[in-house]
């Protein structure tokens, strides 16, 4: 089967202005969302307590609310359904520092008489730990970007690195916007998804860039836009196929992975779509706008080749004892 058979290059760069408008609108919308609605930090980052309770039958949420209402420990607790009608999550902003009095035990005590249930999970994250996790998370993100930037700059050229960072920021911003819009709890797994997205989106971009570099080195064309069009078209099959296989897998994870993996799968799902789009429509135009010049690159390559040749000549002379 062949979906994408290369016959002639599509004019991707001709549509780059249109794509730029879409991207800018999406990014601005994302930042507007982040500024107004913000992120819904879960216990991992905000600190607090989560108790997950599963009933034999449908959870009597109203009855549970009544039972917890009078209890000082559960003041301002929120009770929400979790994945299925028989499972609920109780969220508290507070935590206990005592090792012996456990919120799980207190919950079991408080919910007595509401039916057959089981306390399946108790997560308590103190505020200090939450802060630390958040700092570490941001640190990890920045370090990953820095590491990638250095690698790309070293392997390609600095403009490639800048362009890939643009694409990364683009993808992460929009993914964060989607996370904000959906209102899912931002926990460590969402952070993991964002970091995976970094790697994934970059994967896509780099494979396109690799082809562009190859095109610059081998193609007779000198107009960058044309080379980019040709390279992007040639990698289109791969870009779509890999995105498709990854998309399948993450979609099954999203559909069947259970409630706990939902935030992770959702973030990735958005990320894969945006990441695929950005490797075609964002990274390459940025490269163009930063004034990457094919001629200069050719000259640089020629000079490098000359230096190499000179070096080799010297070495040969030295080895044959002429010098």
């Amino acid at each position: 089967m062949e979906f994408f058979k290369y016959t002639r290059p599509f004019n991707f760069m001709g549509k780059s202005k249109f794509a730029a408008v879409i991207s800018i609108v999406l990014i601005l919308a994302s930042y507007a969302l982040l500024a107004t609605k913000g992120l819904n930090y879960g216990v991992d980052f905000a600190g607090g307590t989560i108790v997950q309770v599963k009933y034999d039958t449908t959870a009597p949420i109203d009855e549970m609310r009544k039972k917890l209402e009078g209890n000082e420990v559960f003041a301002n607790a929120s009770i929400t359904e979790f994945g299925s009608p028989d499972e609920v999550v109780i969220r508290l902003k507070t935590t206990t520092g005592s090792v012996t009095t456990d919120i799980g035990d207190l919950t079991r005590e408080a919910l007595k008489g509401t039916g057959n249930y089981e306390v399946r999970r108790v997560d308590i994250v103190g505020p200090k730990v939450g802060n630390e996790l958040r700092e570490k998370g941001i640190m990890a993100m920045l370090l990953a970007i820095a590491g990638i930037l250095i690698y790309v700059a070293f392997r390609f050229e600095w403009r490639f690195a800048v362009a890939s960072i643009f694409a990364l920021i683009h993808d992460v911003s929009i993914a964060l916007g989607a996370v904000s819009l959906s209102g899912i709890d931002v926990n460590l797994d969402v952070l993991a998804a964002l970091l995976t997205l970094l790697g994934y989106s970059l994967n896509d971009t780099i494979i396109v860039f690799d082809r562009i570099r190859e095109g610059i080195e081998t193609s007779k064309k000198t107009v960058l836009a044309e080379i980019i069009n040709e390279s992007v078209t040639r990698t289109l099959a791969r870009t779509t196929l890999t995105s498709l296989t990854t998309f399948f897998v993450v979609l099954t994870l999203f559909l069947f992975g259970g409630e706990i993996i939902h935030p992770f799968a959702f973030t990735l799902l958005v990320g894969i779509i945006v990441g695929t789009y950005s490797s075609i429509f964002v990274a390459s135009p940025v490269l163009m706008w930063f004034g990457f010049s094919v001629q200069n690159y050719h000259e640089k390559l020629a000079q490098k080749a000359k230096r190499e040749a000179e070096k080799n000549r010297m070495r040969e002379q030295f080895e044959s004892g002429v010098m």
Binding site: G97, V152, T196, I206, I207, R234, A265
Partner: protein, 522 residues
């Protein structure tokens, strides 16, 4: 068919993968296995903090007790021996004895001694305070580990995290009762103190406030079983649990469980001295600030053994003995983070992620075969080999498989075919340009290589950062991702290339591009 080095290495890798993943897959008795994370098998994860300032306080208290004992033993008259959070103060009545006292104080590590008109103040140097705090953390780790080892769980994890946090992970906790018991055992200070009851004023204890008591150098303590009952005891203990060498469960004449303890030589000496001159008075046995019993001293007790009685069950007495035996916590601990997962939730998580894994896997496999035909089959062989390798490496390292780790595997499946997609697309391109099958395959691999390497290395960089900065579950994700990427280099690049080389003569003869790479021939 022709053997080549690539196919040999690939075959070895598959054999390695299958052999070493069998123990994990079949859960056999022997062999190294992947351990399931707490989120998958259920268990308790806690991050504990240590109130280190309490350690300094109790160090000061303990020094005070030894000064008292020293002066009594050497008949040095001192007066006004008091201590607060940072300093001990006392007056040496006979100025001739000051040098002797100073000599003794010099032997106390990190003590800063100053003298002012026969009043001696002792405090701890800043370095010593730091040292005491650090010791409190290290000792807490050691103590908790000892206690949990005796609790009967398999492989409890107790480790220092960061500068001053303690990570405790208990897998296989099945019930809330077990969890409760474990938590109590961990957090129990188990600080044993033997204190003298202030017999002169004991009768007035119910009319006294805490500050009244403090004015006499006493404290008011509650009875462990009945908080209504109060005792007035001397603030400076006779000795503390640091001198304890052993504690065991025994039974008294009424066959009720008691705890027998033994003291070291120094403790035995102090205990003997004290009981010798306090016949007729009461001795309060205080554990974690509560009085367990206050028996009358009938005679001098030598040999350094004693007994704590109280109304415990055998299990309580056993846990208490474990706590005493494994040493007191120099400073109380508090909870910073706790995650407990019930076994049923873990089982559900495994089920859900297995469905996702198998579902995604089957989809990818079918897709690859339809799209690339034989090349798809070959890529799928590489993908399966990749999974086995991943499991094998994780088993050998004894890595922990967490829920995010499962997600990592699922993702590896999606991305592992990437290399083969890139290669197959390159080969198709070359075939369309009219290159021979042999040339197309060799050049296809060569052309694809830099893109695959660059892409994989960047993902690897991100995974390594994740591993370095992530905690628990995220680390698990990073591990599976990294191993998956490395394994895919071996299987998807080297392995498939080897298979093509092996089948080359067949491919050359067939000339059927459609069958091999799913494209129409020219």
């Amino acid at each position: 068919m022709k053997l080549n080095y690539r196919i040999v290495i690939f075959a070895l890798a598959i054999t390695f993968g299958v052999v070493f993943s069998i123990p994990s897959l079949l859960q056999t008795e022997g062999g190294k296995k992947i351990t399931l994370g707490l989120d998958l098998q259920g268990g308790l994860h806690m991050l504990l903090g240590v109130k280190t300032e309490e350690a300094t306080k109790s160090r000061i208290k303990s020094i005070t007790a030894s000064i008292k004992h020293f002066s009594e033993r050497n008949d040095i008259l001192i007066d006004g021996l008091t201590f607060d959070e940072g300093t001990i103060k006392f007056e040496v009545l006979d100025s001739d004895e000051i040098a002797k006292v100073q000599e003794y104080l010099k032997e106390i590590d990190g003590a800063v001694v100053s003298l002012n008109n026969q009043i001696i103040s002792v405090s701890l140097s800043p370095e010593e305070i730091e040292k005491t705090k650090k010791l409190a953390i290290d000792q807490a780790i050691e103590t908790i580990r000892n206690r949990l080892d005796q609790f009967g769980l398999s492989e409890p994890v107790v480790a220092k995290q960061g500068e001053e946090k303690i990570l405790v992970e208990l897998a296989g906790i099945k019930t809330q009762e077990e969890e409760q018991r474990a938590r109590e055992l961990i957090s129990r200070a188990a600080k044993l103190e033997l204190m003298a009851v202030d017999e002169d004023r004991a009768a007035r204890v119910y009319n006294m406030s805490a500050s009244d008591a403090a004015a006499y150098g006493d404290v008011i303590l509650e009875d462990a079983k009945n908080p209504e009952v109060k005792y007035l005891v001397r603030e400076i203990p006779i000795l503390d649990g640091g001198m304890l060498t052993n504690a065991n469960v025994g039974f008294d004449q009424n066959n009720r469980p008691v705890i027998n303890f033994k003291l070291n030589a120094e403790g035995a000496e102090i205990f003997g001295d004290f009981t010798g001159k306090s016949v007729g008075k009461r001795l309060a046995i205080v554990l974690d600030g509560k009085v367990y019993s206050a028996p009358n001293i009938n005679e001098r007790i030598g040999g350094g053994s004693g007994q704590i009685s109280g109304n415990y069950t055998v299990l309580e007495a056993k846990d208490l003995a474990i706590a005493l035996r494994s040493g007191a916590l120099l400073a109380p601990i508090y909870l910073m983070e706790k995650r407990s997962v019930g076994p049923s939730l873990g089982a559900d998580s495994i089920k859900a992620s297995l469905i996702a894994l198998i579902g995604g896997f089957v989809l990818v496999i079918i897709f690859m075969v339809i799209y690339y035909r034989a090349a798809g089959v070959i890529a799928n062989i590489a993908l399966i080999a990749n999974l086995f390798l991943l499991l094998a490496v994780m088993s050998l390292f004894g890595a922990t498989l967490t829920l995010p780790g499962m997600a990592g595997i699922v993702l590896t499946v999606g991305m592992a075919v990437d290399a083969n997609v890139i290669i197959s697309e390159r080969i198709r391109e070359l075939i369309r340009e009219g290159k021979s099958m042999h040339k197309a395959i060799e050049d296809g691999y060569a052309n694809a290589m830099s893109a695959i390497l660059d892409a994989n290395i960047t993902t690897l960089i991100a995974s390594v950062v994740l591993y370095a900065y992530g905690t628990g579950a995220i680390k698990g994700f990073a591990i599976t991702m990294s191993i998956g990427i490395l394994a895919s280099m071996l299987t998807a690049i080297l392995g498939t290339h080897g298979i093509y080389q092996m089948l080359e003569s067949k491919m050359m003869k067939s000339k059927n591009y459609k069958f091999w790479f799913g494209i129409k021939g020219q």
